[in-house]
């Protein structure tokens, strides 16, 4: 029932008149995804699951039964340590090391480039527009607008398959670094 309510259906898009209010639900307050959700989103988009020590590969972060599983990503993005019952343990804030990790983290690079990941499958499509739309769909669940593709296309210039793969890897990197990806909006 709540899914069809007016409150739940609010858009996060702001108007000048309502942009600065944060408590009366004039719009949905866009917020960063929680740690486990973001970890799973990256794994799902890239098609490369994250391995959690002691659990089978393929178990999603949201399924982890305990908060003591070592994971730099989950700690970095504010996972609750479940030491106390305080909801304040889970931190949804944006920090500098988080951005460093999204932009430059080894694990994410590996997930993007993996031979058995989604990017490799997308690259099989020779049509650049279709391939771009596929990456958009995997990450931010929409197609590229004409304006966006017009800005992307020059960056896709490549003379070998390897160069093309590198260019599309950077497109994917960019998409996984957008706010649209990291935020619930």
């Amino acid at each position: 029932m709540s899914l069809t309510s007016r409150a739940y259906g609010l858009s996060s898009q702001t108007l000048t008149a309502n942009e600065s209010e944060t408590r009366f639900y004039s719009h949905y307050y866009a917020r960063r995804l929680p740690a486990e959700v973001l970890s799973d989103a990256i794994a799902s988009a890239t098609g490369v699951p994250t391995k959690f020590e002691g659990y089978p590969l393929g178990l999603r972060a949201i399924q982890l039964p305990d908060a003591q599983v070592g994971s730099y990503f989950l700690s970095l993005f504010g996972r609750s340590d479940r030491v106390t019952a305080c909801a304040c343990e889970r931190k949804g804030e944006v920090t500098l090391p988080q951005l460093l990790h999204l932009q430059n983290g080894d694990e994410i690079q590996r997930q993007i480039a993996a031979a058995d990941g989604r990017l490799s499958a997308v690259l099989k499509d020779a049509d650049d527009r279709a391939a771009t739309n596929a990456l958009f769909a995997l990450s931010i669940q929409r197609k590229a607008t004409d304006a966006e593709f017009a800005a992307i296309r020059p960056q896709l210039a490549a003379s070998t398959a390897q160069e093309r793969a590198a260019a599309f890897a950077d497109v994917f990197w960019a998409l996984l670094n957008t706010k649209e990806f990291a935020f619930n909006h």
Partner: protein, 440 residues
């Protein structure tokens, strides 16, 4: 309540007049204040900075003052402890015999023996001393470093506030930025004593050519447009700010170099001590020299409830070697005169050594702290405790006084009001005064 600050927000006096009305009428005279005097008072409040940076060495757990800087050789054995005291370079000042290197540099540091407050709880006291304001065990008030980060922002590509290896913690993180949020939180350096130490995610592989970097930036700019639709969202604004900062840090040789402890000579690294603490102090020196404004060196493990002399026997030599070398190195390089160094724990330790455990309990009422740099007069000894090292007999120095001293040294007016995200005004500090005797 009459607010005479010249902030742009309007303030109403209890009589209903606005401040603007009040000034227009020239009615300050009955208060004994003319406008020139008011402006002069405002100016005096914003003090002149003595230091560019602060290095705070936090001795988590609580340093035993009896067994370090406030020995009581005339007390009974169960208070005096096992160690004898030795003379230092400062005439009349003795410290424990386990700090021979510190004894030689006590003329470069000021010693406060009268640190004092009423709290014996680790988390509560830690958050108190790290913020200067008493709050809950979870930390209601931003740490001093976070306020500094908020006030000063980035200087070039290095973050303003770094914690080495990370913020203090017992079971949960302490000394956090609280309501100032992720934007003002410390940047965690990691343990510089690790083999092949590298700050996480900071360095790029050689395959990341300038061309690839450019392409990535261009692509990101082309697709990252949520801010065009969602305005006035602080998380989005922070994301954009840090997205730029992260990119800058990754690309800037200055930021890479600042954290590259491998650039220090092996000999110097040996002299500082090949421990997490020793290398952290060396890293702290590097960071302030690169423009980091506030560095917290987190050196815990002082909570010695049992077999205290066994524990101190291992820990004091490490502290002694590293901290003394650090002070000398900072001094020789001239970095010390622009940097305020503060070394303290969250409380001292109990005078009476427990017969059962052979350790000392928590003791908020007395603690020793060290200050150096930024015009602090080396050799000054401020405050004193009674013959048992239990209670302060002269010049108590409270957490808010230490915090005031730090803000004052950086030229930050701690009387200022900040605004929390909920719109609640919060003074940086509500009590305390800087410890001016440090500079006398």
């Amino acid at each position: 309540m009459l607010d005479l600050s010249l902030s742009p927000t309007r303030h109403r006096l209890c009589s209903g007049l606005s401040r603007r009305d009040f000034l227009r009428v020239g009615a300050l005279a009955p208060l004994g204040l003319s406008l020139p005097q008011l402006l002069a008072a405002e100016k005096a409040a914003a003090t002149k900075a003595r230091a560019k940076s602060v290095i705070l060495v936090f001795l988590g757990g609580g340093l035993s003052h009896h067994d370090t800087f406030d020995p009581k050789p005339d007390a009974v054995e169960e208070i005096r402890g096992k160690y004898k005291s030795i003379a230092t370079k400062v005439p009349g000042l003795n410290v424990t015999e386990l700090l021979p290197n510190m004894a030689k540099v006590m003329d470069k540091v000021a010693l406060v023996r009268s640190g004092s407050h009423e709290n014996d709880h680790h988390e509560t006291a830690t958050n108190w001393v790290l913020s200067g304001r008493f709050g809950s065990l979870f930390g209601d008030h931003p740490a001093i470093g976070a306020v500094v980060a908020h006030e000063t922002g980035f200087s070039g590509a290095v973050p303003p506030y770094v914690a080495i290896p990370k913020n203090p913690s017992f079971t949960w993180e302490l000394g956090r930025s609280a309501w100032l949020g992720g934007r003002s939180e410390s940047f965690k350096c990691g343990n510089p004593n690790e083999k092949d130490f590298r700050v996480r995610d900071l360095s790029q592989p050689a395959s990341m050519t300038a061309q690839v970097q450019d392409r990535r930036r261009t692509l990101l700019q082309a697709v990252d447009s949520l801010q065009a639709q969602v305005h006035a969202n602080d998380q989005i604004a922070t994301y954009d700010e840090f997205s730029q900062k992260a990119a800058q840090m990754i690309l800037a040789p200055q930021a890479q170099a600042a954290f590259d402890i491998g650039k220090e000579s092996e000999k110097l690294r040996d002299e500082y001590g090949r421990s997490e603490f020793g290398q952290s102090l060396l890293m702290a020196r590097r960071l302030v020299e690169s423009g980091v404004r506030f560095v917290t060196v987190n050196y815990g493990g002082w909570d010695m409830h049992g077999k205290i002399f066994e524990s101190l026997g291992k820990k004091l030599p490490e502290f002694d070697q590293s901290f003394a070398r650090f002070i000398r190195d900072m001094d020789e390089r001239g970095t010390l005169k622009d940097t305020l160094v503060v070394c303290m724990g969250e409380f001292g330790r109990e005078p009476k050594i427990s017969k059962q455990t052979g350790g000392r309990g928590h003791w908020g009422r007395a603690a020793s702290m060290l200050f150096a740099g930024a015009g602090v007069r080396g050799g000054n000894v401020i405050g004193a405790t009674d013959k048992n090292g239990a209670y302060v007999t002269d010049r108590p120095v409270r957490p808010e006084d230490v915090a005031w001293t730090i803000y004052d040294a950086l030229g930050i007016d701690a009387n200022r009001e900040l605004m929390t995200p909920e719109g609640r005004p919060s003074f940086i500090l509500t009590e305390g005064t800087p410890v001016r005797e440090l500079y006398a």
